[in-house]
Symmetry: C3
Subunit: 339 residues, 3 copies
């Protein structure tokens, strides 16, 4: 696509300084930009790039001052980062290749129901009684079991697996390698240290506007449902065990694992590689640093770190002294020797 700087400025409610007719055909980071590309500046540590950038246009905030030597066109907006995000969205929508139709190799059970405008890629399988609503996109090699429901405009990237009875909301995005509805990890101890598998007859319910990262796994409930509430964002390689519930708009970074039956509140922010034990309750707005290990309930609004987790600030104070333990121990020895 080709736009002029002026056309872009209009879309972003901005104003142009410099050549308003310069053509833009790509988006770039300011340090990598070339002629024809538009970039943005919001972090002051990148301001020095402005004089030497090859970008044809740069989006900046209204209030920043720039030197006279700038040759690139500026688009002034209220919030450069937000405006650039908006431009990214416009750009990706205009370049998205909308795919439609059912690939001839797709295997669809005759009892499945596919609404208008559903796309099924090559080798996709859809099992008995599954329902795919309007605009659902299922890319190559995804496997959808029996009695699955997928609401409108949800997008499955290649090689997603939704096992029987899984329910996915509208406007969700599931990345490649996601597995939803695998058996929970439940075993009853028997004699001779062996285990009996406890059947997992529940399911997984994912609400609207959820995004789930590549190779993330979400197990079905033993009874009832594992529940991912509206607006949750899960990064890659996350593990959600059986009967877990994740509250609205909570965000979880890569490689975090949540053990069985734990309930997590709304709008929490959970770092990467965090481990949360089973049967716990975490309140709303909890913030958890990367690699933290949580083994007890956490009230709303707390920020925590460490294994086992303590309040973030306490952890930092203790850790600062942990680093100084050799000197603390020498001070102690010196007192002992001098008494």
């Amino acid at each position: 696509m080709d736009f002029t700087a002026l056309e872009i400025a209009k879309k972003l409610n901005g104003t142009v300084e410099g050549d308003a007719n310069v053509f833009i055909n790509s988006l770039s980071k300011i340090e990598d930009a070339h002629a024809g590309s538009i970039s943005f500046l919001s972090n002051s540590k990148y301001f020095h790039f402005l004089e030497k950038t090859k970008a044809s246009a740069v989006i900046v905030s209204k209030n920043i001052k720039v030197s006279d030597r700038i040759s690139t066109t500026l688009i002034r907006v209220d919030d450069a980062y937000a405006a650039f995000t908006q431009l990214l969205i416009l750009w990706s929508e205009s370049s998205a290749k909308k795919q439609v139709g059912i690939h001839k190799t797709a295997q669809v059970d005759p009892t499945a129901h596919l609404a208008e405008g559903v796309f099924l890629g090559a080798y996709v399988c859809v099992g008995p009684n599954s329902i795919l609503e309007e605009g659902v996109q299922v890319h190559a090699h995804s496997v959808i079991g029996a009695d699955v429901q997928i609401k409108k405009r949800t997008h499955l990237h290649p090689r997603v697996t939704l096992l029987d009875q899984t329910k996915i909301g509208a406007h969700c995005i599931l990345h490649s390698g996601v597995v939803i509805g695998s058996d929970g990890f439940g075993f009853a101890p028997q004699g001779q240290n062996s285990y009996l598998k406890i059947p997992q007859i529940g399911n997984v319910i994912v609400h609207d506007h959820v995004e789930i990262g590549a190779n993330t796994t979400i197990d079905r409930a033993t009874l009832g449902s594992t529940v991912i509430q509206e607006g949750v964002k899960l990064d890659n390689l996350v593990q959600i065990a059986h009967n877990v519930e994740i509250g609205k708009n909570t965000v979880i970074a890569a490689q975090t694992g949540i053990a069985g039956s734990t309930k997590i509140g709304a709008h929490c922010v959970i770092g990467g590689q965090v481990g949360i034990a089973g049967h716990l309750t975490l309140g709303d707005g909890v913030q958890i640093q990367g690699q933290t290990g949580v083994i007890k309930n956490i009230p709303s609004g707390k920020a925590i770190q460490g294994t086992p987790a303590v309040e973030y600030k306490s952890y930092y104070k203790s850790y600062a002294l942990f680093k100084r333990l050799p000197s603390i121990e020498s001070r102690l020895s010196s007192l002992e020797n001098n008494r």
Copy 2:
């Protein structure tokens, strides 16, 4: 399926209190139960649900006392949890859709041998000289390489990969996204900081009654075999490196990783996100808390935590004092100032 409370009581060697003829058509958690469902009570913290549950029947232990106001039918057994597990097993067996036959899209090498009653789903591939015994179920999109053996009644969920020479025992369950037999991570340092790949010509052997969670990876041995003994249970996203051996009935929670050539004993219980270094030996019955990092051999029966791991109780004593380091340091300062 519909059963009466009496029919269920007979199957569980229990006795009925209340309406023995009430119909049961589903299993529920006591807090979510509705008319027609049966639940159970074993944890005393859920006892208050008994008066208000909508369950048509509840399985309870012989010795618990209940108030007069209870309207639901009770089924009294020796051990409510064990009886409910037994009921879950009966239920899931009676509702399991037994799948048979070879899907028309399955690609089976002419030299492969499929026994009676093998099920191959859509787009399954089976390579040269592979042998699938009686009752093996391989769901859609699984890929089985050359010279693979799978013993009777083992179940592969959709999208499992078994690479060449892998051997899987009987009655195993492999969940979606499992990869078995990928190359071990072995490189010989060369000049200029580069590496030469060491070919991995061994294989993986998984014995009977093993369950392997979604997206778990098990690498083939450099020479010889990576071995998972009978009854082992691996959760999701676990990593087992080349030449590892896991002893009988050991249970490993999600996202744990075990480095090359380490031998782990029988009936160990290993938490989630544990890391175990290479070339170690862990005894039988070792218990490892989540997120522990193991860098030396561990004798049988130890319970450990921390990075690097120490005995569980020692870790807790030290960690309790770690949290109090600011006060310990002030006490030290105060002594220094007062001498």
Copy 3:
């Protein structure tokens, strides 16, 4: 294949002691060896196996002395480990089944370009405008999106996903379940604690001689490219976030995660389950112990451990005292009581 000990010795520039005509048909670890197999000895703790091994031949270094009672044939070389690695390479090359041709079920877009000698297995998909160079091998069920480039002799194991615009170098090996080019995890906070997806319009570039382990995920850049430089080795279940760059010949063990926009230098050695925060710069030759959490820039050549990471030696000194905290606290109490 069958070789005599003499033939093998010649390939390895070695000399034979004992029966030079003994036939070798397999490679084994010395403790598992049987008649017909060749093994090696480089670690002195295995020397006691030499007298009782059933191996028909053993590769040993020139300078080791052996007892008279040894009946196996010895092949003497400068460096037994290096020579055995060389033999493994020769062996695996001679036994590799070179696969060629396009399987009849492969779906190749008419605008894709497949060079001479490309192999596509069953159910492989190749999207529009993708280019696969000479000798590329793509095994069953791999999915290659649009505008993907794969350079010569790169090998994709079964069930790899390369999303649109991904570029893979020559002589790379990608194991099963790898996902390259999934969306980076980027969201702009909105009102009411919800998030707006930031489109990820960049790509992933993987240079030559890279190996990527099973179920590892590499996200595409928001803008520009996520870059894996030449010779990098990634183990299984590793997470590489958007806009990360990994320097030449860096080696990363299983389950490590690297957050967005972090740049890692050349020839670093990074242990398993390490977490590295976003927007950091790590120098060349950095060594990171397993489970370390990195939250600030690290200069070249440092060895680090802990969460947050400190220098390896400092961590060990502090951790030694952490273990002794109960005794340190008693010593402090004792001083307090005696003043």
